[in-house]
Symmetry: C2
Subunit: 413 residues, 2 copies
């Protein structure tokens, strides 16, 4: 490996935003600004789209104090995209354009922060640059609230979303049990294919105020069993709190959220509202009880005010390490986490994973962490999540309102 | 006035829960436990229903440290009710029963914590006890996230909900502008008749990341104007964030949330989901853009983790003052707040308001605080809310999860 590669770098953010993706951005940008090998630090507007469109912000022009506020600024500050890049063997148009931009700005380092699809993009760029003999070190920085990236113990972004979900469920549970009449509340939680987030609602229960029932997309959903589960608790206590993953599906694979059940609308009219509203309607018809559906929606992924300090710290380190490794000659890798317990204390070690290994695989909640009734998670799940949500960051405030980074975003010409 | 009245007291919580209603509970209970005149402190289960049902918890039996955690425990810990008591002149059944319970437990002090309806209940009990010659001092402690109680500058509970709404809007705004495609987001906020909460979303905008448009129930809603407002911003920026009060209504007084517009469902089928989902559907059909509806739902009223320290402090003081005033001979009054500025610094003074004056009136957002276009609030509104949301409480945590009060709730026999 050539150990001293001089040139500029591009950093991009991709996929759904998280509460801490900007902490990784700060890890990359700050480290890149501080190292001699990197001559200029560009931030791509809306991920790879910004590269294709030649829309790059010059990070060197930003006020260091504002950059530091990225640690506590939710969502993707440089903008994100969901652009699916072609396979270079089939269509290399985009890659030729990326190479053109890399040459224009003498880009020798490319850092991409995202989930499964982004690691796939990263991998393709890495392979293409190698195939055309353009020296460029490409590193993936993981991010996803869904926590479904393969090969890493967990992903930056997940823990803060989990903490938001668990805390909110504790609060909702307190509220939903306040009256002396019957009440059933259904909370819809993100996670299309993996139940890490919905399962995190069970943390609330573990701490004394949470859902009675939790349904994950790892199990086939059965509406009759769901209603029987609710009946059983409702008859005993008159109050039921249910957490469901947006990704719950029937045995045939069809999403419950997309099904037109006769119980909800015999005329096949499009449903307004999401899964929570639909399930609330089904449960209301079945039980006759007062039922409320609550969708945590975007709040769960951008709740920076409830971020885990552990998550912020790990997100930052993932970004920092990606730059340091690339400077040291590493390329084609994603930063991954390995969990260790030292004297019983959680510790997070950084590993490098070949991009080709991680791309396009999905990590699900292990079957043995889900209870036999398939309506809750076991202690193993709680033990997995709990260390990740630890610590409360000191949030920068301005008259008790969040103070986010205000970047100049000076465009490169 | 007889100045030394010895006997027990009952405290009850009523109406919708808030993030700080238990801080008022702690103010009442702690002060009552500490004073010589009050022989026993009872907490009514589910407000006045607990009195009628003879279901009273003995607060003297609780661990003082657990009681103190009420300061940061959301929702009504003793349980709430929405029981509308009769007029004693028309039907005195309930009042005879209340008198029976008061005599059974030698109750000489009654403290009731709630909104408009609760102050009405309080007032009726006060009048009835006077009319039958039973000596009992009755005090109202205000509470409502809606902030619509007459005669007080603001109400405990409002500021914490406002802070939750403003902070969440800042986060949602960051998230909703992240992609490079068009996006319209509609946030539904509580407040059936007054726009204090929806207006608080504008705090987010004042701090650099909030809604473009805010609609309050103080103005008649016009769907065509609403769509034109959105078009105007969407055409310029491709991103629109809208905050609407759940209470917006057409000129004829009908709620938008209950209207069956031809644009949403020509067949008059019941809507699933609430106003946000319905408006999102209308806007989607009109603009063709990606539109997301978000309902802040219960989260906004039970968000103790984002409570205003000022609100907690004032809620506590309202409860404490109610007891101290009653001990000093006052009865038939509600604790109210008067705002003062001392050397430019916000200060909150406590006043006493006759219960008969406050009951059943609603305080709305002044017309002169709403902009001419009726799609936003003016600086006067921001200046009103901002001092109320100041300060972050030190939250009791247990492994980074909220630690709420765990009461024994020993029933009186």
């Amino acid at each position: 490996m050539d150990s001293k590669l001089i040139g500029s770098c591009i950093f991009g953010q991709s996929g759904g935003p998280t509460a801490v993706i900007n902490a990784s951005a700060y890890g990359v940008i700050r480290t890149a600004l501080d190292c001699d090998e990197i001559t200029k630090v560009y931030g791509a507007a809306h991920g790879i789209r910004g590269v294709l469109d030649d829309k790059l912000y010059i990070m060197d022009e930003e006020d260091p104090e504002e950059l530091k506020l990225l640690l506590h600024t939710p969502s993707s500050e440089l903008g994100s995209c969901r652009y699916k890049i072609a396979d270079p063997d089939e269509d290399d148009t985009d890659f030729k354009r990326i190479l053109e931009i890399f040459k224009k700005y003498d880009v020798r380092y490319f850092f991409y922060n995202g989930g499964n699809d982004s690691m796939d993009t990263c991998n393709k760029i890495s392979r293409y640059m190698e195939s055309v003999g353009y020296t460029c070190r490409v590193m993936g920085v993981p991010k996803t609230i869904d926590n479904d990236l393969f090969g890493t113990d967990h992903c930056p972004g997940f823990a803060s979303a989990a903490k938001y979900i668990a805390t909110s469920c504790m609060e909702i549970n307190k509220d939903a049990r306040v009256y002396d009449n019957g009440m059933i509340t259904i909370i819809e939680i993100m996670g299309r294919h993996a139940g890490w987030l919905a399962g995190s609602a069970a943390l609330a229960t573990a701490f004394g105020s949470g859902p009675d029932l939790v349904y994950l997309p790892e199990c086939d959903f059965d509406m009759d069993k769901f209603l029987a589960d609710i009946d059983c608790i409702y008859e005993k206590t008159g109050k039921v709190l249910v957490a469901v993953s947006e990704g719950i599906h029937y045995a045939d694979g069809s999403f419950v959220s997309e099904a037109k059940t006769s119980a909800t609308d015999g005329f096949g009219h499009a449903q307004l509202g999401g899964l929570a509203a639909m399930l609330a309607d089904v449960v209301k018809r079945h039980t006759g009880a007062k039922v409320r559906g609550i969708e945590l929606s975007l709040l769960q992924r951008c709740g920076a005010h409830l971020a885990s300090a552990t998550d912020i710290d790990e997100a930052y380190k993932a970004g920092k390490e990606a730059v340091e490794q690339a400077i040291n000659g590493v390329t084609g890798k994603m930063i991954a986490f390995r969990r260790e317990y030292i004297d019983g204390q959680y510790s997070c070690k950084i590993e490098l994973l070949p991009l080709s290994q991680v791309a396009n695989y999905e990590k699900k909640v292990p079957a043995e962490w889900i209870n036999k009734e398939e309506n809750g998670v076991k202690q193993e799940f709680i033990d997995y999540v709990l260390p990740l949500i630890q610590g409360e960051p000191v949030l920068p405030l301005e008259q008790s309102m969040p103070r986010y980074a205000r970047l100049k975003k000076v465009l490169a010409r």
